[in-house]
């Protein structure tokens, strides 16, 4: 039977931004505001109200249906609302408008880690999570051994999870989410962390889950993973759905969002960041130099010019970037610290950094670049898929379809 197990209609979520965003208010503020209210002039009040109403729609007008047993990839740029959608579907937060219908037990793995209680042991947390998704103790017990084996935690199952390493924590979280008998599995970006072996293992398990007839909703930036796992993909854009259909349709739509406008020269100031990034240090723009006809000639050095501002004084700043293929395979990274050229910046300072890779030897194709900046060991700004560039295929024999690299070569002749 294939009836929709998830159906969403005109789903939307509005967040308040501005003054009320940084978490909680103190009671004093609220009381003072209330006390002041009668004495506030009319215009003043109206101004305040409008500033209070500063909101953004993280998600809007999202309509889709997911059938039982489908493995749906959810893709889209940062800020398109992928995580918000999963949070709504897992009932952590309420939508502002529209509704969604879900038939079946929902297990979710949102961001890193799930609902673990640090003081409790791994064993106890497995039962805790079983209870959370509504399983009886006996039902959880049936899957217990498999979870422990998957997470490779046999020796540590009676250790409080607060003593676990990040890797152990993550393995347990994934094991719990994948093995507990939820009918619908929501997975958000688990593959962004963990080592390669673990990622492979997780992908394999998600495949198993899908084959067993359970429905999987899978958020990822890893296009290769989406293409290999999913039977269908939805590409979100701010304010709606960009594409919904076959994986290749959605992935192409996603890639087209990457190449639109002039992505080789991007204004980065207004791009949404994950929490905490961009506050002490913010990339303003990124531009590849030496671009001819919007392409960089083969074998010319990559020259990336980054403008930034630093609201806070920072020391030992290193800016860097990672280059990815369009299907999100990581090719290489480089940063200022590689050549010991970190710098200090004063509060309120602005500047430009130019990074040059003399010989990247990239094959003619389009590439996506993530940017980051760190001060010492703490990351201060990070932008995924911030800018793209294309290496010109000019002069290359059309039948030599290089994948990733086209090294510069030298030839000698004895004729």
């Amino acid at each position: 039977m294939t009836s929709p197990v998830i159906r969403s209609e005109a789903l939307g979520k509005e967040y308040q931004i501005g003054a009320t965003l940084p978490g909680y208010r103190s009671l004093r503020e609220s009381i003072v505001d209330t006390m002041k209210a009668p004495f506030r002039g009319r215009t003043d009040g109206r101004e305040r109200r409008s500033s209070q109403r500063k909101t953004i729609w993280a998600l809007r007008d999202v309509n889709f249906e997911v059938l039982q047993g489908e493995v749906v990839g959810l893709i889209g740029r940062n800020g398109a609302g992928k995580s918000t959608l999963l949070k709504i579907l897992s009932r952590i937060t309420e939508p502002t408008e529209g509704f969604a219908e879900i038939h079946g037990r929902v297990g979710s793995l949102l961001e890193v880690g799930m609902g673990f209680h640090g003081e409790l042991t791994g064993r106890e947390n497995i039962f805790l999570n079983g209870a959370i998704i509504g399983m009886k103790r006996a039902e959880t017990l049936r899957n217990f051994a498999e979870i422990v084996a998957f997470a490779e935690l046999e020796k540590f199952v009676d250790t409080p999870v607060k003593r676990y390493s990040t890797g152990m924590y993550l393995r347990l979280a994934f094991g719990v989410a994948a093995y507990l008998e939820s009918e619908i599995l929501l997975v958000d970006e688990v593959l962004a962390v963990g080592d390669v072996n673990f990622q492979k293992k997780c992908l394999g398990k998600i495949g198993d889950v899908a084959r067993s007839g359970r429905t999987v909703f899978f958020v990822s930036h890893n296009m290769a993973a989406v293409q290999s796992l999913c039977t269908r993909a939805i590409c979100l854009k701010p304010g709606g759905i960009l594409a919904d259909g076959s994986v290749s349709t959605a992935v192409n739509a996603y890639l087209s969002t990457m190449t639109d406008a002039d992505l080789a020269n991007r204004d980065l100031h207004a791009l949404p960041r994950d929490d905490g990034f961009g506050e002490k240090f913010r990339f303003e723009s990124a531009q590849f130099e030496g671009v001819e006809n919007s392409q960089i000639p083969l074998w010319s050095p990559l020259r990336l010019r980054l403008q930034f501002q630093a609201p806070h004084a920072l020391s030992e700043v290193s800016v860097g970037f990672s280059v990815y293929s369009m299907d999100r395979e990581h090719l290489f990274s480089c940063e200022a610290a590689d050549s010991d050229s970190t710098f200090d910046v004063k509060a309120g300072g602005k500047g430009t950094a130019i990074g040059v890779v003399p010989q990247a030897n990239l094959a003619p194709a389009r590439y996506v670049v993530d940017l980051w900046a760190r001060s010492g060991n703490s990351v201060v700004d990070k932008l995924d898929s911030a800018v793209t560039f294309e290496i010109s295929p000019f002069g290359v024999a059309p039948w030599s379809t290089d994948k990733r690299f086209r090294p510069e070569s030298e030839w000698s002749y004895h004729l």
Binding site: R91, I92, E94, E101, H103, V106, G115, L120, L128
Partner: protein, 287 residues
């Protein structure tokens, strides 16, 4: 809320939509998640005495030391009367109800903020968190109760039939705890001032509750001022403590006092529950 499509595989169906205004309490939802409630109660009990030297002995030590200090200072030095009962027994019976409730209120008020990891990662009826904090205190209560039995045997005081009402008064203590717990835990998500207010509030609350002194002494003074007895019951703990002493030791008489306290408890509980439900939808966004 749930529909059974196939006997072997019960499927839960749910509709996610913005809730408007004061939504229904959804106690049914809590019932569905009872397994989680049991689990959280159990884990809270376990966690409480983990990495402690004395373990569950703390459950007895707290009221016991209070009783000793009260006996020395309020009975011996200040000469406060005790309804004709031995003062240690008199104060311990009151402390039993008081310790349970004050611990429950302070734990419940921090329960949501303390579990923000759970709150932002998984769904379950949020009511379960303060609920589990409060109910887990029953274990401590049970342990502390054993000492009361010893004390009663020592002083040769046997309970009357009134002891059958004890569960009702315990239920009332739970109601008071939950009433305050719901208000404070939900407020705490938005206003962290709560964590500074609660210890102070509990300290003051002890003085207006007849734990140290007999109710009769307070109500007599109030009558002199022309204030009827029931007014003292506006502090719901006055009714609870009085009820505990009456059902356990047969002292005093509950009456208008307990009636007022019961009404206050119900109002507090309903108000708290509705406030909590109204705020619940924003917890994960605000915390």
């Amino acid at each position: 809320m749930s529909s059974i499509t196939h006997p072997a595989q019960p499927t839960q169906s749910l509709i996610i939509r913005p809730s408007r205004g004061w939504t229904a309490l959804q106690l049914k939802d809590v019932w569905q998640y009872r397994e989680l409630l049991y689990f959280l109660i159990w884990s809270e009990v376990k966690v409480r005495y983990k990495q402690t030297l004395l373990g569950a002995a703390w459950a007895v030590l707290q009221p016991l030391t209070s009783m000793i200090v009260f006996t020395i200072f309020f009975s011996r030095i200040a000469g406060i009367s005790s309804d004709g009962l031995p003062y240690p027994l008199f104060s311990y019976a009151g402390l039993l109800a008081w310790t349970f409730t004050s611990d429950a209120v302070s734990k419940a008020s921090g329960s949501l903020v303390g579990s923000s990891g759970l709150l932002t990662k998984v769904y379950f009826p949020r009511l379960i968190l303060p609920g589990a904090s409060i109910l887990s205190g029953l274990v401590d209560f049970g342990i502390a109760f054993l000492l009361l039995i010893v004390l009663m045997a020592y002083y040769g005081i046997w309970p009357t039939l009134a002891i059958l009402c004890l569960p009702l008064f315990l239920l009332m203590a739970i109601g008071v705890s939950l009433g305050f717990g719901l208000w404070l835990s939900a407020l705490n998500v938005k206003y962290r001032d709560v964590r500074y207010v609660v210890p102070f509030f509990i300290q003051l609350w002890l003085f207006v509750t007849p734990v140290i002194y007999p109710t009769a002494r307070a109500t007599a003074k109030l009558r002199e001022l022309g204030i009827p007895t029931w007014v003292y019951g506006l502090n719901p703990m006055a009714g609870v403590v009085e009820g505990f002493r009456w059902s356990l030791l047969g002292s005093g008489q509950p009456g208008s006092l307990v009636l007022t306290s019961s009404i206050v408890t119900v109002v507090l509980l309903l108000g708290g529950a509705f406030y909590f439900r109204g705020m619940e939808k924003t917890f994960a966004d605000v915390i």
